[in-house]
Symmetry: none
Subunit: 417 residues, 2 copies
């Protein structure tokens, strides 16, 4: 079954609001195998909504509308649906009664305007809204089902769940779309795709088809695998096999297959080794340690860090010889290494990280352009120092630098470099 | 002129991602009076996208597509547009050369697959992408204009801006929607709205109508004012008057009326005073300093910071008496103050910030629940220490703590507390 989601509301066409209801709806529909093929946002305009609904009815098995069920003249979803499905709107006195008693419970009289919310296209099933005045509505139009939900998530979600449970799931017998996310650091999207595509390209024609989306996020690549399967056990088997194939071609650049972010993966490695960590950050300005400490329980292994923005603090706090900075410059492999060694000695940890670079937009030179970043990792076992060239804004250079430092440590701790 | 925005990418039809590009596009189009009537999200499916484009071409003066211009087989925007507009795709060797030189700059060879990005529907104008390999494309089809933009915001935005400036704005004679954003820290949304609503509620019926949206973002409130005006000068006059009315009721809780974030506002205050700053961060784990150093040029006033996660580093690095921690606990006003004083002395700066608290999810007690955070600010002139109770996830507590520290410093430096 495939679905189209229509979010109704002029505020969703301003620069300030995104439609997030569709994420909740997609999640619930996916679990029972309903594929969301299209999402549309339309304003409080009955003609425009009627046009969108007409097109959706022709192309989807299920049309889910959210919003536009309020009591004001702006709320046009009922009217548009009635027009498109050519059904008259009828006043349901039971809905009026229920809205009236809702107001009464708060000691208020129902405003006349709320009677609009009791107007129902002929033949629709009324879905109780436990958290608001506008009921949901369920209609069948030929082979297409139409579900109208109120906009506020607190009102929408319980109605959606009841519909999924009582009306949609019984038709699917446990079938659904089952997902895995695989995360990769330290490689370019085109590089990953040229290796992975020959593998995942085969999967769509298998008995349990798996579709794959490649997503380049700052400092990492994600592969989203989605299996359409009759039940979870079958899906898991197919996804496990698929993941193993990808691991063969992508190897150690995969850092997570279970949804964990890089900071959590590194945290688990440190915890497993019983190691502590400290960082000397220059161009990352504290971001690296902030990300390490985003992980609950990270105080078990993060001891301390220094942000040494000035050369004076590099010398004074980390015992880096002034002559070393004078000779090689603050952004250099010898200084990066001395920062990692210095913080490790100073904090008495198993791991020391040093990051120094030019985050920009100023400060670049022909030899060391903006985005030049030195990452040094010193552990109880060994030392690695590498110079990177990153691109992007100041914040993007900072993020990629933190990512590179954590990924180097991960590769060292797992014996990959 | 009215517009339809189409975001392309299967990842935008998962429960994990929303289309945020359309917010940037809407904002830019609104400034020149272009009304966004419809937004659609479609997956990497050439038939579905062709259907959406066909419908959009019939209903909008301008169709803006983002995404699907990458080098992989998933990237189907060029193909769908070529099909719908019935124009053949042609390889532009100049684009190939420019992509190849982009790779060469990083010492890489262009993968063959990237040649796909040089395929252009006949008659399209090629729009330079300074931040990536996929150029934008501009087509005219009867009365409808079609703009194709790459998905990554960093690549999309400069192309969009050039198109608005060079191709769209000249047709609008300066009329449009003109916006101001006013940012507020340290107050609750309901408190702000109850003061501001009686003021902004009057504005919609003025000769130059101004609509107002209140938006609660983590750690701050934003008021977005939108004036519909025949030109910028008229809009500015109306908006200046409106802003003055709001400043009267909201006072010093407004930290920015010109788009600057709090870290930039604080940075400008420090630079203006010729002061330097250092922080001792416990629960924020480096986030406070990372945000301060997100501002270009912040190395002029950020000297250094320490993240002292363990009590040992608080004692050892900041000269905090062990007895003080033993007596009051690490999360206490005396310890927060000693951290701020300690880092200020250690780094030799004009300002010292100390932040200590319980970010959660563990570590709370009945007396000091998760979200208890002490912020201390010590400057050349005075000292303030305050205990906050924040709510939300670990990351949200960290963010609000950093926000509170910067806002306290702002209020002190402007003589408001």
């Amino acid at each position: 079954m495939n679905a189209c989601i229509v979010a109704v509301g002029s505020e969703l066409l301003t620069p300030f609001r995104v439609d997030t209801n569709s994420l909740i709806i997609t999640e619930r529909l996916n679990t029972i195998g309903v594929d969301v093929r299209l999402k549309t946002v339309v304003g409080d305009d009955v003609d425009e909504l009627a046009r969108v609904l007409t097109s959706a009815l022709g192309n989807a098995d299920l049309v889910v509308c959210t919003g536009g069920l309020g009591p004001t003249e702006d709320d046009i979803t009922r009217d548009a649906v009635a027009r498109v499905l050519e059904r008259p709107l009828e006043l349901h006195e039971t809905i009026v009664d229920s809205i009236r008693s809702r107001f009464a419970k708060r000691g208020l009289t129902m405003p006349e305007i709320n009677r609009r919310q009791a107007m129902v296209p002929r033949g629709a099933a009324v879905l109780e809204n436990v958290n608001g005045t506008a009921p949901g509505l369920w209609l069948e139009h030929g082979r297409t089902r139409v579900l109208l939900l109120p906009g506020p998530p607190r009102e929408m979600t319980p109605i959606l769940e009841a519909v999924v449970r009582d009306r949609l799931a019984p038709a699917t017998a446990g079938a659904g779309l089952f997902r895995r996310v695989l995360r990769i650091a330290g490689r370019a999207e085109s590089d990953i795709d040229s290796r992975a595509q020959p593998v995942y390209g085969q999967w769509t024609s298998r008995p349990i088809p798996i579709s794959t989306t490649i997503l380049a996020v700052l400092g990492q690549i994600e592969l989203h695998l989605t299996a359409a399967a009759p039940n979870r056990a079958v899906a898991d088997e197919a996804l496990d096999a698929a993941m193993a194939e990808l691991q063969e071609v992508l190897g150690s650049s995969i850092y997570s297959t279970d949804g964990r972010q890089l900071e959590a993966v590194v945290g688990d490695l440190l915890r497993g080794a019983g190691w502590t960590i400290a960082a000397a950050e220059s161009c990352t300005g504290g971001l690296l340690t902030s990300r390490l400490t985003d992980v609950p329980g990270s105080s078990d292994y993060v001891a301390a860090s220094v942000v040494c923005y000035s050369n004076a603090t590099k010398v004074d706090w980390l015992n880096i010889p002034e002559a070393l900075i004078a000779e090689h410059g603050a952004v250099s492999e010898p200084v990066g290494r001395a920062m990692a060694e210095g913080i490790r000695a100073r904090a008495g940890t198993n791991v020391g990280l040093g990051v120094t670079g030019i985050a920009g937009p100023g400060g670049g030179t022909p030899e060391k352009p903006v985005g030049t970043v030195v990452v040094a990792v010193v552990t109880d076992r060994d030392t690695r120092v590498r110079t990177f060239q990153f691109f992007g804004s100041r914040e993007q250079v900072k993020y990629q630098s933190a990512q590179a430092a954590m990924n180097m440590l991960r590769l060292m701790m797992t014996g990959r470099i």
